[in-house]
């Protein structure tokens, strides 16, 4: 039996020590009438070799990014992961319990988390960061709840340019709250010319019951937001600015949200060291201004000393957490995303300051080149004029689905059709380029789209 060490002789001996004549005797507390009859209806067990073959064949039913040119982003980004990342993260000493309960045996994890917190603070321009949350969407929901606890106000303004699935998650989290804060989520439109959140609309919506304004930056359309302007009006209203970042490579170029006036910065650090993995596990992060520390959800590691005065690390401010505070905790989160945070740390450490800047610049260059190539195609238009980072929106003037299908036949995944999330953008594509998209791939994409569009226009033309 895989993974079970006992021989039959040992089982008998142990049963005897356990005071039982048979295994069944140990199971008497299970209700006799409800015991599973026979075996579970599951496929029979298999050898490791058979399993590996089975899984390889299942994996081959998917198309990895190696096989096609993929221009998808929208909250999950394919970046090159340096080899050292997985080698380090695979060291089994890092495979521990979900909580480093015993700091003496967990200094490695604890110091790594402390460093991760430091990285996040540096990137976001914030004072404190927690050890991780599940993902960018739930981190956004936690930030909204946190803002509510801080301001004791029920209302939330969500930018419509915030990732649509993040908006969904926020409303799921708020949906059942007895104060029915759920009902006071208000969506702020984006400016159809700029592609960024409509600042005037924020101003109008900022009433006395608004806990926070939530902006994504770069937003779901890849567009940069006017964080400073929004921070100012929010603060003037006693509301907080929550900034969501789900393409953190942008931190290498962009002014940090902290410098721009954000109060809480949350988002997704998957871009650092973590593969797409069909959507998870990714890496939610949260950082905030110092004064909000005690309202922060999730775990925190702090530096301290041991009995002999040596530097040591441990969990701290645990009184915010569920295992101490139970229903009065700042969140129910317990297991977080420790290993993916470790991967992010290693990637960031390998990049260093200059590396991150270069990587961000490279992403900008790739996306800019792609943008230039695509926008010169007849029938293809950029609709938003604000600056973008590594993704942007195209209007094709036609339903993108058949276009995507033709591209797919040529091995190109040409972006995300936005109609799925924005009925008003049903002729639009969100297109992303990162360092993994080679110039050749980009050129092929542009050529292929040119051909498709020509035939579409031809058809429409006649």
């Amino acid at each position: 039996m895989p993974y079970i060490p006992h021989t039959e002789a040992e089982v008998s001996e142990m049963l005897k020590s356990a005071g039982a004549d048979s295994m069944e005797e140990l199971l008497t507390c299970l209700p006799a009438d409800y015991r599973v009859e026979g075996s579970l209806r599951l496929p029979a067990g298999m050898s490791e070799m058979a399993l590996k073959e089975e899984m390889a064949s299942m994996a081959s039913m998917n198309c990895g990014s190696g096989e096609r040119s993929v221009f998808l982003g929208a909250g999950a980004y394919a970046h090159y992961i340096p080899s050292a990342v997985d080698h380090i993260v695979s060291r089994s000493e890092f495979f521990t319990a979900y909580t480093p309960y015993q700091p003496e045996l967990s200094q490695g994890t604890l110091q790594a988390v402390f460093e991760y917190q430091s990285f996040v603070c540096r990137l976001t321009g914030m004072d404190v960061s927690n050890a991780s949350l599940y993902d960018g969407a739930s981190a956004t929901a936690e930030a909204v709840l946190m803002a509510g606890r801080i301001t004791r106000r029920p209302g939330v303004l969500l930018s419509r340019a915030l990732h649509p699935e993040y908006r969904e998650v926020v409303s799921t989290y708020l949906g059942s709250l007895p104060e029915s804060t759920g009902e006071s989520i208000k969506e702020i439109p984006y400016c159809p010319n700029l592609g960024s959140t409509f600042v005037e609309a924020v101003k109008t919506a900022l009433t006395g019951d608004i806990a926070c304004v939530v902006l994504q930056h770069p937003n779901f359309f890849g567009t940069l937001e006017e964080l400073e302007e929004v921070a100012e009006v929010a603060h003037a209203n006693g509301s907080l600015l929550v900034v969501v970042v789900n393409e953190p490579v942008s931190f290498g170029l962009l002014k940090s949200p902290g410098e721009a006036g954000a109060d809480i910065v949350v988002g997704e650090n998957q871009s650092f060291g973590n593969a797409l993995n069909y959507g998870g596990p990714h890496l939610g992060f949260m950082s905030a201004r110092e004064k909000f520390l005690r309202q922060m959800p999730g775990r925190l590691v702090g530096e301290t000393v041991d009995t002999e005065g040596r530097r040591a690390f441990c969990l701290t401010f645990a009184t915010r957490e569920q295992h101490i505070r139970r229903e009065r905790a700042t969140s129910n989160i317990c297991t977080n995303h420790g290993l993916t945070a470790l991967a992010a740390s290693v990637h960031l450490a390998l990049l260093g300051e200059a590396g991150l800047r270069e990587l961000a610049h490279l992403n900008l260059s790739k996306a800019t080149y792609l943008k230039e190539r695509l926008k010169s195609i007849e029938g293809v238009n950029l609709i938003f004029s604000s600056p973008t980072f590594n993704e942007f929106v195209l209007c094709l003037g036609t339903d993108p689905e058949p276009v995507l299908k033709v591209l797919l036949e040529k091995g190109i995944v040409g972006g995300l059709a936005l109609g799925r999330f924005y009925p008003e953008l049903r002729e639009h594509l969100l297109v992303t380029a990162t360092e993994i998209n080679s110039r050749t791939e980009i050129d092929n994409f542009a050529d292929a789209l040119g051909t498709v569009m020509a035939s579409v226009l031809g058809v429409t033309g006649t």
Binding site: H6, S17, C29, N62, T96, T109, G279, A329, G352, L364
Partner: protein
């Protein structure tokens, strides 16, 4: 070996790995992005953030984390009987299959025709978990156990609304894990605590008494955190149902039940599973996990979106799998995309490798190992609940050690010197100085015997050299750490010496 915080190794201008080549024209950033958006560069930046990220070489990064790893204790290092955590062996093959390119590189928004393998895997995993738990339907979306709890509670809430009922309370036993009340609160419920009976289980009477029309659900853990099977669960469930409530089972302890009983058949309406425990995936220093939720028929319409659908295609040969988004009664989404897929791959692999016979043997052996330890140690350590065999874990207390002056914490710290990770301590709170031992099925008799011997030796030491215990551990990189100071003088991130504020 001392290993400084990485920033302290930084030398300005040093490079670790360089990003890929710039094979497209190098853009002029300031021409594309107005200055107000840009991170300051050069000198100014350096004084503010000195540096933003540490600048170290690849070898230094590798050494840094290699050394950090050496200060950690994992399951591959030694026995890890951390109660309620199911620290079993994480099969290496699971790491390999989870790293197959066809799984790691797929984008969640790829056309479904390009991800049939992933969809099939998830669909089948749902089926397996339904079979194991006896539930009607499973969602794989939640990211961890607590996330699953929230998911289940939101479904109960939504279902009650649909029924037109306004129930505000959730009953939770005093032995429950902290996430249970925290999730209940997050889902908008008030928590009512139920005291365990004399044998460590919930009594029928306490439920009869507490169960009124305000109660939305009873949330119990089975086996509970004392390692005991809630023997009255069937009757309890009947009462809760009769009075219009739901039974939510925290399934974090499923490692004791696979192939033995199905929770759904015992009357459970919702259960969350911790794939990262029972189904054996590593969760380093805090995850990632995966917390699927199983529900009975009444709650199924409320499952989060999207669902996974299987169709016997007409165009495509054989089956085809797709996401179903149109679920009008759903509570909505709990995370972006579709769940922690890489964890599901491992759990799927584990289930396929073990098969039904293996899974049953897993649970039986987990129970055997716990009972073996329980019986062998109960003359040395106090065992508050001992009416029946335990399930996957046994909880001792430190009351027998009172007169020696040492307590559970001291015993735990001393165990470290014996090369063993301490059990969970001071939980559940109903046991004074609890020592919660969950050996799991992957540990050999020899390993258990070593643990028993260590515990016995420590009990001796407690009498003869109590200061040894109070000052333990002696074999670790650091001795006991000053947790009070960590909270009093918070240093939550690294700062260069001359930038330190009182806060740092």
């Amino acid at each position: 070996m001392e290993e400084p915080v990485l920033f302290e190794r930084s030398v300005s201008g040093r490079r670790g790995v360089s990003p890929a080549e710039h094979d497209v024209p190098v853009t002029d950033v300031s021409a594309l992005i107005p200055e107000r958006f840009l991170r300051s560069q050069g000198e100014e930046a350096e004084t503010t953030y000195d540096p933003m990220l540490p600048e170290v070489s690849e070898l230094e990064v590798v050494r840094h984390y290699t050394r950090l790893s050496q200060w950690n204790f994992g399951v591959d290092t030694g026995f890890y009987p951390l109660g309620s955590c199911t620290m079993k062996y994480n099969p290496k093959i699971n790491e390999d299959i989870a790293r197959l390119d066809g799984f790691t590189t797929i984008h969640p928004y790829l056309d479904e025709s390009l991800t049939q393998g992933a969809l099939k895997l998830m669909y089948e995993l749902e089926g397996y978990l339904a079979e194991i738990t006896g539930m009607e339907a499973i969602t794989l979306q939640p990211s961890a156990g607590a996330h699953g709890e929230l998911c289940g509670l939101l479904m109960i809430s939504k279902c009650l609304k649909a029924r037109g009922e306004h129930r505000t309370k959730v009953l939770i036993p005093d032995t429950a894990h902290g996430t249970n009340p925290a999730s209940s609160h997050l889902a908008g419920f008030k928590v009512v605590q139920i005291e365990s009976g004399a044998d460590g289980c919930i009594t029928l009477d306490s439920i009869k008494e507490a169960m009124d029309t305000d109660v939305a659900a009873l949330m119990l853990t089975n086996p509970n955190t004392l390692g005991l099977f809630e023997h009255d669960i069937v009757e309890i469930a009947e009462i809760v149902h009769e009075r219009g409530g739901f039974v939510f089972c925290d399934g974090a302890n499923m490692n004791a039940l696979m192939g033995l009983v199905r929770l759904g058949e015992l009357g459970v309406d919702v259960v969350q599973l911790n794939l990262h425990k029972t189904f054996s995936t590593p969760h380093g220093g805090g995850g990632p996990g995966s917390g699927p939720v199983g529900v009975g028929a009444e709650l199924a319409p409320y499952l989060p979106t999207p669902r996974i659908k299987k169709e016997s295609g007409i165009k495509r040969e054989g089956e085809s799998y797709s996401f179903e988004y149109d679920r009008p009664d759903s509570i909505g989404r709990l995370k972006a995309f579709y769940g922690n897929f890489a964890i599901m791959v491992r759990a799927y692999g584990y289930i396929r490798r073990c098969g039904p016979v293996g899974l049953r043997r897993v649970s039986e052996t987990a129970i055997l190992n716990a009972n073996y330890i329980k019986q062998r140690l109960k003359s040395t350590f106090d065992l508050p609940y001992d009416d029946k065999p335990c399930m996957h874990e046994a909880v001792f207390s430190d009351t027998g050690l009172k007169e020696t002056g040492v307590n559970t914490m001291d015993v735990a710290k001393r165990l470290i010197d014996y090369g063993i990770h301490p059990p969970t301590v001071y939980f559940p709170m109903v046991v004074g100085g609890a020592i919660m031992v969950e050996p799991t099925e992957t540990e050999s008799k020899a390993e258990l015997d070593d643990f028993i011997a260590a515990m016995e030796a420590i009990a001796e030491e407690a009498k003869e050299k109590p200061e040894l215990l109070r000052n333990a551990p002696f074999t670790t990189k650091v001795s006991r750490v000053d947790e009070t100071r960590a909270a009093r003088v918070p240093k939550l991130k690294w700062m260069p010496k001359d930038h330190m504020t009182a806060f740092d």
